[in-house]
Assembly symmetry: C2
Homo-oligomer: 315 residues x 2
């Protein structure tokens, strides 16, 4: 397939780098200010070099991306909430031109799921969005293959930053502020970590899974989620939990009825107490009990493999 990539951050550039290995070509990549395009394939090395040296991927206007002969648009621009723009317009344009869309951007599928699906039904193109939930973990595909109506709930540890902080607090007996600071130094937490530690990121992922479970009817958006983060957990809470062979994890849960994210006591050695930045998606099914799927929930290459698995399913 010929891929056009909107977004040149960690995920976009990883898709650029790995696409050929997966048998695809990248005919264009754009960031907010520019685009690089190629008739058959962009020059990966010079794109990466230009991005590193100048901050821009290309020398053409960004909009040129949509004029390439692409089969599938990869939407990997930064997640935005509410109207999910400009990502939503990118998806809309591609679908209206009968192209496929693979999202790594959570915005359109978390905040405007039914709008997006409506455009999809009128298009010869399809949307896929494995990369929006759990990175390399095959969460959406497994729910889809199992049959969403036969999945009772999907829950898990869906944010690596928050999980890293809780793991370190428990392991070292350090305060939240200390561990967060350490996480920022390691690049595991952002300078403004609120999206992760307040539970918003995990909530968006659960909203997406809830929409898959319901098929968008009813439709969930972030405002439907009950969300509590990890910013108020004292070290003493973790000590107390440990005395009972438990620990605390930021758990998100999606059912057809609700989306909830919050800190929960979990057995210290159970499947939900993944450590560090690892994620887990736990799927409760009607006929096959519980599936536990854990792995790397974030990262450029990791998320790119989810994007490319989706591209493979379209071909």
């Amino acid at each position: 397939m010929r891929i056009a990539i909107a977004g040149a951050g960690a995920v976009g550039t990883s898709v650029l780098e790995l696409a050929e290995e997966y048998g695809h070509t990248v005919v264009g990549i754009a960031d907010s200010s520019s685009a690089a395009t190629g008739d058959e394939q962009v020059d990966v090395e010079s794109v990466l070099q230009r991005k590193e040296e100048t901050g821009a991927v290309g020398t053409q206007p960004a909009g040129e991306l949509f004029k390439t002969e692409y089969d599938v648009l990869v939407e990997a621009t930064p997640t935005t909430l509410g109207d999910a723009q400009p990502a939503f317009s990118h998806c809309q344009r591609a679908l209206e031109e009968d192209r496929h869309v693979v999202l790594a951007n959570k915005g359109p599928v978390a905040e405007r799921y039914t709008d997006l699906r409506k455009i999809e039904t009128q298009s010869n193109g399809s949307i896929r969005f494995e990369a929006t939930v759990g990175g390399a973990i095959p969460a959406i595909r497994t729910i889809e293959d199992y049959g969403p109506e036969k999945v009772l709930a999907a829950r898990g540890v869906l944010n690596g930053t928050a999980n890293f902080v809780l793991t370190r607090m428990a392991a070292e007996g350090l305060s939240y502020e200390k561990v967060l600071s350490e996480a920022q130094e390691l690049g595991v937490a952002e300078t403004d970590p609120s999206f992760d530690v307040e539970g918003t990121d995990a909530a968006l992922k659960c909203v997406i899974m809830a929409n898959v479970l319901t098929g968008g009817d009813p439709e969930f958006t972030l405002s439907d989620a009950t969300v509590e983060g990890i910013t108020d957990i004292p070290g003493s809470a973790l000590d107390l939990a440990a005395q009972d062979n438990k620990t605390i994890r930021l758990i998100g849960e999606a059912t057809r009825d609700h989306v909830k994210v919050g800190p929960r006591l979990v057995p210290e050695n159970g499947p939900l107490s993944v450590t560090g930045t690892r994620n887990i998606v736990q799927i409760d099914t009607e006929h096959a009990g519980r599936l536990n799927l854990s792995g790397r929930g974030a990262g450029g290459p990791e998320t790119a493999t989810a994007v490319l698995a989706d591209v493979g399913r379209l071909g």
Copy 2:
């Protein structure tokens, strides 16, 4: 899709019972001595009742199954080794008539993988075999979606009987013979448990995964596997392991170079020490690190969900 089911054991009858819920019809089901067929759909209740009361699913000769207007054959007859007959012939006939085949039977894909794939390339039908490895766990689909050539290894706990026995030995300090006897009473172990406790079942599953990793070149069969079971593990070995916070599990591993099954020391609280009859498939990937997929590895309904997920991917 219209399904014809060869085999009326736990898996075949579960597929019969669940197919409608997944949007499919069963136009025929056969056991070794008979077949029941229907123009649109067999009568599920009377088939199940007849099977229970008489031991036979139908009143027609078994071969009538292949004369129905089926889209996909589900091969769920008992696994046989070597020439994998009669399952191989069932698959061959379906493919030669341009129908799809979904296998729950390990024989053809473990013992005659390239033979089967060759017939598939000459057919308009496709083969799928998720149900042959790990029951409800999406092992084959995940390797397939990720890209088999980018999977470095697949390993795990793949036999519920052996795992139940080891779990109970460690938990209760009982001997192998005592726990095996208990497992047989519970129906977790067969009267002749050798297929499970000697590691053959786990080895077949690893052989199948190895064939997926190599694409059948080189081809693996059971005879290529190095196999050791659990029949010689004394309780003292588990006690010793526990002192080191470890336990023993029957671990199977498949790479492009080898298939090995044998008892291994594993961390007591690590992902590979699933308990009871649960299974885990651990996939090491090139770009996304390690995925751990655990769940119910056996059972009629559980395996049927894997069969029906495969049917869904064909439609």
